[in-house]
Every structure is written in structure tokens, then in C-alpha cells.
């Protein structure tokens, strides 16, 4: 295992220490328990926005704390949902009286820990609502399973709900916008290499030099199937088609196209994937009117990418375009 780390047990704490020291103008890092808030604290009268999950997906979520996006983020241990006693104070810190929306990725651990935290916060008179992001089409959504995972589409939910909260929407309205994004965003990912969880010390799966995993999540799990290494264009088709199909995209629709890197993929490769994904959407008569390309929802140092498509209407487009000032997303 080759990483720029010290003791594997200290990875999250040391990352947060560096993050806080580097960006005191944007964020405040709290330790014991660990959570991150906006430097200025919660803005009075604004609905609070909180997200969180296992670490190892940076910049998700702490990189999205700041004006126009999250009020607080809760990083768990690497690939491990945070605990209620971390989440509850973050919910409290984000509350300025208008209530808090928790944006939860659909994993058993995240859902359960956020549930408990919301109960704790509720006992302290914080009005907590939550939405569950489940954009990963690699996983079948069925009554008999844990449902689809939440992956890169989470960025879209956090950005757009964040803009709604910032413009003064109330808790019902912010929740409705978040649900609308969730209903219209889908993703699918590929891994060229595994990643190594620091405390595990060896790769999350063993992948021969000539094979890749299609339909991976963001926790180093193997994907739905293993296939021979293929060209970027071919791989992009395998990612884009199920996403577009699941969204039932029709000719004439407008979308945001988001090509996300898994952490170890250089941006040049992401642009190659973007180029092909865009062409495939155009072949379907779908217009790409907004774009995001970069490493935003990662799996440690994994090489790979995911393709996310968000169906846009005027409201979502306006909210996407609204100013944002976080360490990872800014305009």
C-alpha cells in the first residue's frame, strides 16, 4: 500500500486538520466529534443543509460546505458512515430556526445513523427532514433489495438544494427541490483499478491488468460485472446508455452532463469520456446545456470514472447556475 499518510488510524483526523488550516475563510473544522461547518456559521432564517458519509470520497462532502451549498458535513471513518453523535451536533450547528435538510446517500449505514441522529436532534427541537440519494443505475431498485446506491449525483442534489436554501426557500420547498433532483439524476461507474482502504492495507479487489469492473459503487466494492479492458468510447457507451435509458431521456430534453473521476484518473481521461458521452446524448437528440468534469466523488485513489446525467428544467438550471463558494465548487 503506497499512500502519503502516517498511521492509517489518523487519516481522517489529519486530513481534516489540513483542510481546516488551508481554508479558514470557507470552513470551520470541529473535532471530537468530527464535523465541518461554514466558517461563518449558520445564516439566520435559512434552511440548513447537512450531508455526510464515510470518508475517502473527497471532496465529497466537506469540500461542498460553503455559501450556496452545504452548511455542514459529517465525515465518518474511511468508507464508514459517521455515527449519530457526530451527525447530531452538525444538524444542530446547521439549524438557525428554519429547520435542516439532511442529504443522505442510500446505504444502510448512512440511513440508519442519520435516522438516529435526527431523533437525537429532534429531541433538541431541531426540525430535521431528510432525502435519500439513490442515483446509481448499476444497482436494481427493487422492493426486495437495499435499493440503488447514492453516488456522484449527490453533488447535483447538494448544489441545487443548497441554492434553493440560499435564496430563502422554506424547508418544504428545499426538500421538494432536492427530491426533484433525485428523481431526475442517474449515474453509472467503472473501475480500472481497485482502491486500498488504509486500515485494510490491500486493494479492495484484485483486478487483472486486462480487466475492468463495470457498475461499481464508491466504496471499492467490485462492480456488477467484470469485462475485458476496452477503449474509452466503448466503456463510455456502457455507462451512458443505462443512465439515459433509466431516465427515459427524450429528444429535445436538456441535461447536465457530469463526468466524475474516482480519484486516480487524470482529468484528460475524464474529458475523453465526456466528449463521447456528450456525442451519445446528442445522437439521442438530448442537449447538454451544463457540464461538470472532475474528481468530485471519489474512491480514494481508484482509477475510473462515472457518468451522471441530470435532466434539467428552467428551475434546476437557474439553481445550478446560482453562485456557490465552497472549496471544491465555486462560481
Amino acid at each position: 500500500m503506497k499512500k502519503l499518510i502516517n498511521d492509517p488510524q489518523d487519516v481522517v483526523a489529519e486530513t481534516l486538520a489540513g483542510f481546516g488550516a488551508a481554508h479558514p475563510d470557507v470552513v470551520a473544522v470541529h473535532t471530537d466529534p468530527n464535523y465541518v461547518t461554514r466558517a461563518g456559521g449558520a445564516r439566520s432564517g435559512k434552511v440548513g443543509l447537512v450531508s455526510g458519509g464515510g470518508s475517502g470520497h473527497e471532496p465529497l462532502h466537506a469540500g461542498f460546505v460553503g455559501e450556496g451549498m452545504l452548511d455542514a458535513a459529517v465525515p465518518g471513518a474511511v468508507f464508514t458512515s459517521p455515527t449519530p453523535d457526530q451527525i447530531a451536533p452538525a444538524l444542530q450547528a446547521a439549524d438557525s430556526g428554519a429547520g435542516v435538510l439532511a442529504i443522505v446517500k442510500n446505504y444502510t449505514g448512512d440511513v440508519l445513523n442519520f435516522e438516529t441522529a435526527a431523533e437525537l436532534a429532534d429531541a433538541d427541537d431541531v426540525n430535521v427532514r431528510s432525502v435519500v440519494v439513490n442515483d446509481d443505475v448499476a444497482v436494481e431498485d427493487s422492493l426486495y433489495t437495499a435499493g440503488r446506491r447514492g453516488v456522484a449525483g449527490t453533488v447535483c442534489v447538494e448544489k441545487i438544494a443548497g441554492a434553493a436554501a440560499e435564496r430563502g426557500d422554506d424547508l418544504d420547498a428545499v426538500t421538494a427541490v432536492a427530491e426533484k433532483v433525485i428523481a431526475n439524476v442517474r449515474s453509472m461507474g467503472v473501475a480500472l483499478t481497485a482502491c486500498t482502504v488504509p486500515h485494510a492495507g490491500k486493494p479492495s479487489f484484485d483486478l487483472p491488468e486486462d480487466e475492468i469492473e463495470i457498475g461499481i459503487g464508491i466504496h471499492g466494492e467490485p462492480g456488477r460485472r467484470r469485462i475485458p479492458l476496452a477503449g474509452a468510447d466503448e466503456i463510455t457507451e456502457m455507462l451512458l446508455a443505462p443512465v439515459a435509458d433509466d431516465l427515459k431521456l427524450a429528444s429535445g430534453e436538456k441535461v447536465l452532463l457530469f463526468v466524475n473521476g474516482m480519484g486516480g484518473t487524470p482529468s484528460s481521461e475524464l474529458y475523453i469520456v465526456y466528449r463521447r458521452a456528450r456525442a451519445l446524448l446528442e445522437e439521442r437528440g438530448v442537449e447538454v446545456v451544463r457540464s461538470l468534469v472532475g474528481n468530485y466523488v471519489t474512491s480514494l485513489e481508484m482509477q475510473g470514472a462515472s457518468v451522471t446525467v441530470l435532466r434539467l428544467d428552467d428551475e434546476l438550471t437557474t439553481l445550478w447556475d446560482a453562485p456557490v463558494h465552497t472549496t471544491a465548487l465555486r462560481w
Binding site: 464508514t80 455515527t83 449519530p84 440508519l112 445513523n113 438516529t116 444497482v139 433489495t145 466504496h219
Partner: protein, 210 residues
Amino acid sequence: MTLDVAWAIDWVRRSAATVKEHREELIELDRQIGDGDHGENLNRGFTAVVGKLDALESPPGDVGEVLKLVATTLMSTVGGAAGPLYGTAYLRAAKAAAVPELDANGVVAMLEAALEGIVARGKATTGEKTMVDAWTPATEAAVAAADEGAAPAAVLAAAADAATRGAESTIPLVATKGRASYLGERSAGHLDPGARSTELILHAAAEAAQ
């Protein structure tokens, strides 16, 4: 022939020891069909529990108090799916065992409460390749043993053995709950890490009762 606070404390310490000993195995099992953190997380949690036990000023008044300490500590240190699941299990078990000493029926009630807690939180049923596949036969075996008049130690031994068989039964299963479900068919052929940790913890309970 009953189990008291000393037993409960011994159970917790043995649980911590066995989880530490099997930390890497649990990580490896979870690496294969999950995200490789189960051993690390449980070990962190039980280490914290032992720390809390050591720091107690006065000894817990009943079995339930010990289990409640386990519950709250696991809840606030483990995270992931296992944190709330085990946390709720111990919390419910604590309520059921809020007595100074457990007889055989008390042990059964404690195990049943734990299982109910897990199911209430996780909504899984048997055959979904989760810790429920270890807890369910364990509880059933405990009921059967108690019905036959077994002593508390024998009830726990029966539960632990059934948990072992239950854990092994997860190997061929295709997961439909938890993280392993994302693998679909590829989850078959692997032991569920949560079922394995359940087995370890129940064996610790039985050994403490010897």
C-alpha cells in the same frame, strides 16, 4: 446457575478480545463482498467499550446496565451499518436484561430482544445474507434449549453453535440486503462478515458462561 453482572462484563471483554483477534479476517470477509471496514469498525467500537468499562467508577448494577454501555458506545464509535444494528441489538437486549441475574429464560429473552432490534432497524429477514442469518437460528436454538430445561450456559452454547451454522449458511446465498446486495449474483460463495461477527460474539457469551 444464573448469569450475573460479572458474566456480562466478562462477555464484553471476551467479545472485544475475539473481535480484535479476528479483526483482519472480518476486514477480509467484508473486502470480498463489502467495503472492507467491518473488522476495523467493530474493533474500534469494542476497544472503546472496554475503555469505558475500565473507567467506570462504580460497577454496573445489573446486566442491563452493562449492555446499555455497550449499546451507546458501539452506536457512537462504530458507524456504518453494523454500528446502529449492533447498537440497537444491545439496547433492546439491555432493556430485556434489566435484572441482576439471568436465568435460562432471561437469556432467551435477551437474545430475542437483540434479534428484534436488528430486524426492526435493518428490515432484513433470513436468507438475505446478513447477521440476521446468524441471530435467527441462534435465538431459535436458545428457545429450544431453554424449553428442554437447559441451564443458561448451555442455552448460550446452543445459541453460539447455531450461530456458527447460521453464519456458514450465508455462504451460498445471494445478498439482498446490505452492501453485498450491490454485487448481485457475485455475492454468492462468500461468508457474510456480520454473520461471522455475530458468531464470534455469541461464542464469547457462551465461553464467559462456562
